[in-house]
Protein backbone atom coordinates (compact mmCIF):
# COMPACT_ATOMS: atom_id res chain seq x y z
CA UNK A 1 0.00 0.00 0.00
CA UNK A 2 1.75 3.17 -1.20
CA UNK A 3 2.00 6.00 1.30
CA UNK A 4 0.79 9.44 0.13
CA UNK A 5 3.28 12.32 0.17
CA UNK A 6 2.63 14.78 3.03
CA UNK A 7 3.68 17.63 0.77
CA UNK A 8 4.38 18.37 -2.90
CA UNK A 9 6.81 21.00 -4.23
CA UNK A 10 7.06 22.01 -7.87
CA UNK A 11 10.62 23.28 -8.30
CA UNK A 12 10.58 23.30 -12.09
CA UNK A 13 12.60 26.35 -13.19
CA UNK A 14 14.08 26.87 -9.70
CA UNK A 15 17.86 26.85 -10.01
CA UNK A 16 20.57 25.48 -7.71
CA UNK A 17 20.93 25.86 -4.83
CA UNK A 18 17.49 27.36 -4.14
CA UNK A 19 15.77 24.13 -5.24
CA UNK A 20 17.68 22.22 -2.55
CA UNK A 21 17.11 24.98 0.03
CA UNK A 22 13.33 24.78 -0.57
CA UNK A 23 13.41 20.98 -0.41
CA UNK A 24 15.40 21.05 2.82
CA UNK A 25 13.04 23.54 4.47
CA UNK A 26 10.03 21.43 3.44
CA UNK A 27 11.66 18.32 4.92
CA UNK A 28 12.37 20.16 8.20
CA UNK A 29 8.62 20.66 8.64
CA UNK A 30 7.88 16.92 8.29
CA UNK A 31 8.44 14.11 10.78
CA UNK A 32 10.81 11.19 10.09
CA UNK A 33 9.15 8.62 7.82
CA UNK A 34 6.93 11.21 6.07
CA UNK A 35 7.13 11.48 2.29
CA UNK A 36 7.85 14.60 0.21
CA UNK A 37 7.37 14.75 -3.53
CA UNK A 38 9.36 17.28 -5.54
CA UNK A 39 9.66 18.13 -9.22
CA UNK A 40 13.07 19.31 -10.36
CA UNK A 41 14.70 20.01 -13.72
CA UNK A 42 17.02 17.68 -15.55
CA UNK A 43 20.68 18.68 -15.73
CA UNK A 44 22.31 20.51 -12.78
CA UNK A 45 19.30 20.18 -10.50
CA UNK A 46 19.03 16.43 -11.08
CA UNK A 47 22.81 16.03 -10.62
CA UNK A 48 22.94 17.92 -7.32
CA UNK A 49 19.64 17.89 -5.45
CA UNK A 50 19.22 14.11 -4.90
CA UNK A 51 22.84 13.80 -3.77
CA UNK A 52 22.44 16.64 -1.24
CA UNK A 53 19.20 15.10 0.03
CA UNK A 54 20.93 11.77 0.62
CA UNK A 55 23.89 13.49 2.35
CA UNK A 56 21.41 14.93 4.87
CA UNK A 57 20.24 11.44 5.75
CA UNK A 58 17.01 11.23 3.75
CA UNK A 59 16.02 8.42 1.40
CA UNK A 60 15.13 8.69 -2.30
CA UNK A 61 12.21 6.29 -2.76
CA UNK A 62 11.32 6.80 -6.39
CA UNK A 63 12.44 8.85 -9.43
CA UNK A 64 10.07 9.28 -12.38
CA UNK A 65 11.17 11.11 -15.55
CA UNK A 66 8.53 13.62 -16.70
CA UNK A 67 9.72 15.22 -19.96
CA UNK A 68 12.41 17.76 -19.04
CA UNK A 69 11.77 17.28 -15.34
CA UNK A 70 11.92 14.53 -12.76
CA UNK A 71 9.45 13.69 -10.04
CA UNK A 72 11.27 12.53 -6.91
CA UNK A 73 9.75 10.90 -3.88
CA UNK A 74 11.75 11.44 -0.67
CA UNK A 75 11.34 9.81 2.72
CA UNK A 76 12.46 12.02 5.59
CA UNK A 77 15.24 10.37 7.60
CA UNK A 78 15.94 10.45 11.33
CA UNK A 79 17.65 13.76 12.01
Amino acid sequence: MAQEPKKRLDLHGVICPMNFVKTKLALEDLTPGDLLEIIIDEGDAMLNVPRSIKEEGHKIIKVIPLGETFQILIEKGQS
Partner: protein, 271 residues
Protein backbone atom coordinates in the same frame (compact mmCIF):
# COMPACT_ATOMS: atom_id res chain seq x y z
CA UNK B 1 8.89 27.73 9.51
CA UNK B 2 8.38 31.49 9.42
CA UNK B 3 11.13 32.55 7.03
CA UNK B 4 10.02 34.90 4.26
CA UNK B 5 10.97 34.24 0.63
CA UNK B 6 13.65 36.92 0.77
CA UNK B 7 15.03 35.53 4.04
CA UNK B 8 15.22 32.06 2.48
CA UNK B 9 17.30 33.52 -0.33
CA UNK B 10 19.43 35.79 1.90
CA UNK B 11 20.30 32.99 4.30
CA UNK B 12 20.35 30.15 1.75
CA UNK B 13 24.07 29.44 2.28
CA UNK B 14 23.41 29.00 5.99
CA UNK B 15 20.29 26.91 5.47
CA UNK B 16 22.16 24.53 3.17
CA UNK B 17 24.59 23.71 5.99
CA UNK B 18 23.59 20.47 7.67
CA UNK B 19 24.37 21.96 11.11
CA UNK B 20 22.31 25.11 10.54
CA UNK B 21 19.25 24.49 8.37
CA UNK B 22 16.06 26.51 8.63
CA UNK B 23 15.78 25.84 12.35
CA UNK B 24 19.33 27.06 13.04
CA UNK B 25 18.73 30.20 11.03
CA UNK B 26 15.56 30.87 13.01
CA UNK B 27 17.59 30.58 16.23
CA UNK B 28 20.05 33.12 14.83
CA UNK B 29 17.20 35.49 13.93
CA UNK B 30 15.82 35.25 17.45
CA UNK B 31 19.17 35.67 19.22
CA UNK B 32 20.65 38.68 21.00
CA UNK B 33 24.37 39.35 21.01
CA UNK B 34 26.21 42.24 22.71
CA UNK B 35 29.50 43.51 21.31
CA UNK B 36 31.57 45.57 23.77
CA UNK B 37 33.86 47.80 21.72
CA UNK B 38 33.31 48.44 18.00
CA UNK B 39 36.98 48.67 17.17
CA UNK B 40 39.41 46.21 15.63
CA UNK B 41 37.64 43.13 17.01
CA UNK B 42 34.11 44.46 17.23
CA UNK B 43 34.06 45.81 13.67
CA UNK B 44 34.34 42.48 11.84
CA UNK B 45 32.24 40.75 14.50
CA UNK B 46 29.45 43.31 14.09
CA UNK B 47 29.51 43.03 10.30
CA UNK B 48 29.40 39.22 10.26
CA UNK B 49 26.74 38.97 12.96
CA UNK B 50 24.58 41.53 11.16
CA UNK B 51 25.03 39.71 7.86
CA UNK B 52 24.18 36.42 9.59
CA UNK B 53 20.87 37.82 10.77
CA UNK B 54 21.42 37.95 14.54
CA UNK B 55 18.09 39.46 15.56
CA UNK B 56 19.32 41.99 18.11
CA UNK B 57 22.89 43.26 18.29
CA UNK B 58 23.91 45.65 21.06
CA UNK B 59 27.06 47.70 20.46
CA UNK B 60 28.89 49.53 23.25
CA UNK B 61 31.52 52.19 22.63
CA UNK B 62 32.09 55.67 24.03
CA UNK B 63 34.56 56.70 21.39
CA UNK B 64 34.48 58.53 18.06
CA UNK B 65 36.09 57.34 14.85
CA UNK B 66 39.69 58.48 14.46
CA UNK B 67 41.70 58.45 11.24
CA UNK B 68 44.15 55.98 12.82
CA UNK B 69 41.29 53.48 13.37
CA UNK B 70 40.52 52.98 9.70
CA UNK B 71 43.51 50.69 8.97
CA UNK B 72 41.69 47.87 10.84
CA UNK B 73 38.23 48.93 12.04
CA UNK B 74 36.56 48.10 8.76
CA UNK B 75 33.03 49.02 9.81
CA UNK B 76 34.08 52.70 9.87
CA UNK B 77 34.74 54.65 6.66
CA UNK B 78 36.82 57.75 5.95
CA UNK B 79 33.73 59.96 5.97
CA UNK B 80 32.92 58.70 9.50
CA UNK B 81 35.99 60.29 11.12
CA UNK B 82 34.70 62.29 14.07
CA UNK B 83 31.34 60.45 14.27
CA UNK B 84 30.47 58.33 17.29
CA UNK B 85 31.57 54.76 16.62
CA UNK B 86 28.22 53.32 17.65
CA UNK B 87 26.44 55.63 15.18
CA UNK B 88 28.85 54.78 12.37
CA UNK B 89 28.63 51.03 13.08
CA UNK B 90 24.84 51.01 13.39
CA UNK B 91 24.46 52.59 9.92
CA UNK B 92 26.61 49.89 8.24
CA UNK B 93 24.95 47.02 10.10
CA UNK B 94 21.47 48.22 9.14
CA UNK B 95 22.58 48.74 5.55
CA UNK B 96 23.86 45.15 5.36
CA UNK B 97 20.75 43.63 6.83
CA UNK B 98 17.42 45.29 7.63
CA UNK B 99 16.37 42.16 9.60
CA UNK B 100 18.73 43.21 12.39
CA UNK B 101 17.81 45.48 15.30
CA UNK B 102 20.88 47.40 16.44
CA UNK B 103 20.92 48.82 19.97
CA UNK B 104 23.67 51.44 20.45
CA UNK B 105 25.14 52.24 23.87
CA UNK B 106 27.40 55.29 23.59
CA UNK B 107 29.24 54.75 26.85
CA UNK B 108 32.14 52.94 28.40
CA UNK B 109 31.33 49.90 30.51
CA UNK B 110 32.18 50.17 34.19
CA UNK B 111 31.14 48.43 37.36
CA UNK B 112 28.01 50.53 37.76
CA UNK B 113 26.44 49.96 34.32
CA UNK B 114 27.73 46.67 32.90
CA UNK B 115 25.31 44.30 34.67
CA UNK B 116 22.31 46.22 33.34
CA UNK B 117 23.71 46.34 29.79
CA UNK B 118 24.54 42.63 29.52
CA UNK B 119 21.38 41.31 31.16
CA UNK B 120 19.26 41.27 27.98
CA UNK B 121 21.77 39.38 25.84
CA UNK B 122 22.38 35.68 25.13
CA UNK B 123 26.07 36.03 24.33
CA UNK B 124 28.68 38.76 24.80
CA UNK B 125 31.72 39.53 22.68
CA UNK B 126 34.64 41.23 24.42
CA UNK B 127 36.15 43.51 21.81
CA UNK B 128 37.83 45.83 24.31
CA UNK B 129 41.40 47.03 24.17
CA UNK B 130 42.51 47.16 27.79
CA UNK B 131 42.96 44.81 30.71
CA UNK B 132 40.78 46.62 33.27
CA UNK B 133 37.76 46.33 30.95
CA UNK B 134 38.55 42.72 29.99
CA UNK B 135 38.54 41.71 33.65
CA UNK B 136 35.36 43.70 34.23
CA UNK B 137 33.64 41.94 31.30
CA UNK B 138 34.77 38.55 32.60
CA UNK B 139 33.65 39.20 36.15
CA UNK B 140 30.30 40.66 35.09
CA UNK B 141 29.58 37.71 32.78
CA UNK B 142 30.59 35.15 35.43
CA UNK B 143 28.40 36.82 38.07
CA UNK B 144 25.46 37.03 35.64
CA UNK B 145 25.99 33.50 34.26
CA UNK B 146 26.42 34.86 30.70
CA UNK B 147 28.57 33.17 28.07
CA UNK B 148 31.15 35.39 26.37
CA UNK B 149 34.05 35.37 23.96
CA UNK B 150 37.33 36.85 25.15
CA UNK B 151 39.62 38.26 22.50
CA UNK B 152 42.97 39.98 22.59
CA UNK B 153 45.35 41.11 19.86
CA UNK B 154 48.79 42.69 19.72
CA UNK B 155 51.16 43.18 16.78
CA UNK B 156 50.78 39.92 14.81
CA UNK B 157 49.31 37.90 17.67
CA UNK B 158 45.83 36.98 18.72
CA UNK B 159 44.28 34.97 21.52
CA UNK B 160 40.71 33.97 22.24
CA UNK B 161 38.71 31.71 24.53
CA UNK B 162 35.02 31.25 25.16
CA UNK B 163 33.46 31.23 28.60
CA UNK B 164 30.31 29.26 29.23
CA UNK B 165 29.20 28.88 32.88
CA UNK B 166 30.73 25.77 34.42
CA UNK B 167 33.95 26.08 32.40
CA UNK B 168 37.20 27.99 32.83
CA UNK B 169 36.81 31.78 32.92
CA UNK B 170 39.37 34.38 31.86
CA UNK B 171 40.41 34.90 35.49
CA UNK B 172 40.99 31.13 35.96
CA UNK B 173 43.77 31.53 33.40
CA UNK B 174 44.88 35.10 34.11
CA UNK B 175 44.15 35.78 37.80
CA UNK B 176 44.98 39.51 37.75
CA UNK B 177 45.55 42.27 35.21
CA UNK B 178 49.27 42.59 34.40
CA UNK B 179 51.14 45.42 36.12
CA UNK B 180 50.60 48.75 34.41
CA UNK B 181 53.01 49.16 31.52
CA UNK B 182 54.04 45.48 31.44
CA UNK B 183 52.04 44.86 28.26
CA UNK B 184 51.98 47.64 25.69
CA UNK B 185 48.66 48.72 24.16
CA UNK B 186 47.95 48.47 20.43
CA UNK B 187 48.53 52.19 20.11
CA UNK B 188 52.07 51.73 21.44
CA UNK B 189 52.95 48.36 19.93
CA UNK B 190 51.02 48.33 16.66
CA UNK B 191 48.65 45.78 15.19
CA UNK B 192 48.33 44.32 11.71
CA UNK B 193 44.81 45.23 10.62
CA UNK B 194 44.07 41.79 9.20
CA UNK B 195 44.95 40.18 12.54
CA UNK B 196 42.12 42.13 14.15
CA UNK B 197 39.84 40.83 11.39
CA UNK B 198 40.94 37.23 11.95
CA UNK B 199 40.30 37.35 15.67
CA UNK B 200 37.05 39.31 15.57
CA UNK B 201 35.78 36.89 12.94
CA UNK B 202 36.63 33.89 15.15
CA UNK B 203 34.66 35.58 17.94
CA UNK B 204 31.67 36.03 15.61
CA UNK B 205 31.86 32.35 14.65
CA UNK B 206 31.89 31.38 18.35
CA UNK B 207 28.75 33.46 18.96
CA UNK B 208 26.97 31.85 16.01
CA UNK B 209 27.98 28.33 17.03
CA UNK B 210 26.82 29.01 20.56
CA UNK B 211 23.46 30.16 19.19
CA UNK B 212 22.92 27.17 16.90
CA UNK B 213 24.30 24.78 19.53
CA UNK B 214 26.55 22.85 17.17
CA UNK B 215 30.20 21.88 17.29
CA UNK B 216 32.77 22.33 20.03
CA UNK B 217 33.22 25.87 21.34
CA UNK B 218 36.53 27.28 22.56
CA UNK B 219 35.55 26.46 26.13
CA UNK B 220 38.41 25.23 28.33
CA UNK B 221 40.72 26.04 25.43
CA UNK B 222 42.79 29.11 24.60
CA UNK B 223 43.39 29.55 20.88
CA UNK B 224 46.47 31.60 20.08
CA UNK B 225 48.00 32.48 16.77
CA UNK B 226 50.99 34.30 15.43
CA UNK B 227 50.15 35.67 12.02
CA UNK B 228 53.75 36.64 11.28
CA UNK B 229 54.56 32.94 10.82
CA UNK B 230 50.87 31.96 10.53
CA UNK B 231 50.97 29.41 13.31
CA UNK B 232 47.95 28.43 15.39
CA UNK B 233 47.76 26.43 18.56
CA UNK B 234 45.24 25.63 21.25
CA UNK B 235 46.11 25.23 24.90
CA UNK B 236 43.82 23.15 27.10
CA UNK B 237 42.52 24.93 30.19
CA UNK B 238 40.80 23.86 33.37
CA UNK B 239 38.48 25.68 35.68
CA UNK B 240 40.54 26.87 38.65
CA UNK B 241 38.71 25.88 41.82
CA UNK B 242 40.58 28.66 43.63
CA UNK B 243 39.62 31.27 41.00
CA UNK B 244 38.76 34.56 42.71
CA UNK B 245 35.50 34.94 40.77
CA UNK B 246 34.26 31.48 39.73
CA UNK B 247 36.07 29.24 42.25
CA UNK B 248 34.60 27.45 45.24
CA UNK B 249 35.26 30.31 47.65
CA UNK B 250 35.27 33.42 45.49
CA UNK B 251 36.90 36.47 47.04
CA UNK B 252 35.40 38.79 44.42
CA UNK B 253 31.71 39.25 45.03
CA UNK B 254 31.25 42.61 43.41
CA UNK B 255 32.65 44.24 40.30
CA UNK B 256 35.97 46.05 40.36
CA UNK B 257 36.99 49.05 38.27
CA UNK B 258 40.74 48.59 37.90
CA UNK B 259 42.53 51.81 37.12
CA UNK B 260 42.82 52.55 33.41
CA UNK B 261 46.16 53.65 32.05
CA UNK B 262 45.92 57.43 31.61
CA UNK B 263 46.86 57.29 27.92
CA UNK B 264 43.91 54.97 27.21
CA UNK B 265 41.26 57.12 28.84
CA UNK B 266 40.32 58.88 25.66
CA UNK B 267 40.66 55.62 23.72
CA UNK B 268 37.23 54.16 24.45
CA UNK B 269 36.38 50.48 24.30
CA UNK B 270 38.12 49.46 21.14
CA UNK B 271 41.02 47.29 20.17
Amino acid sequence: MNLTESQIERYSRHIILKDVGGSGQEKILQSKVLIIGVGGLGAPAALYLAAAGVGTIGIVDADSVDLSNLQRQIIHFTADVGRAKVVSAQAKMEAINPDVKVVPYQTRVYSENIAEIIQDYDFIIDGTDNFPTKFLVNDACVLAGKPFSHGGILRFNGQTMTYVPGNACYRCVFPEPPPKGAVPTCSQAGILGAVAGMLGTIQAAEALRYIIGKGKLLTNRLLTFNALDMEFRTINLHQNHRCAICGEEPSITELIDYELPACDLRGGNHA
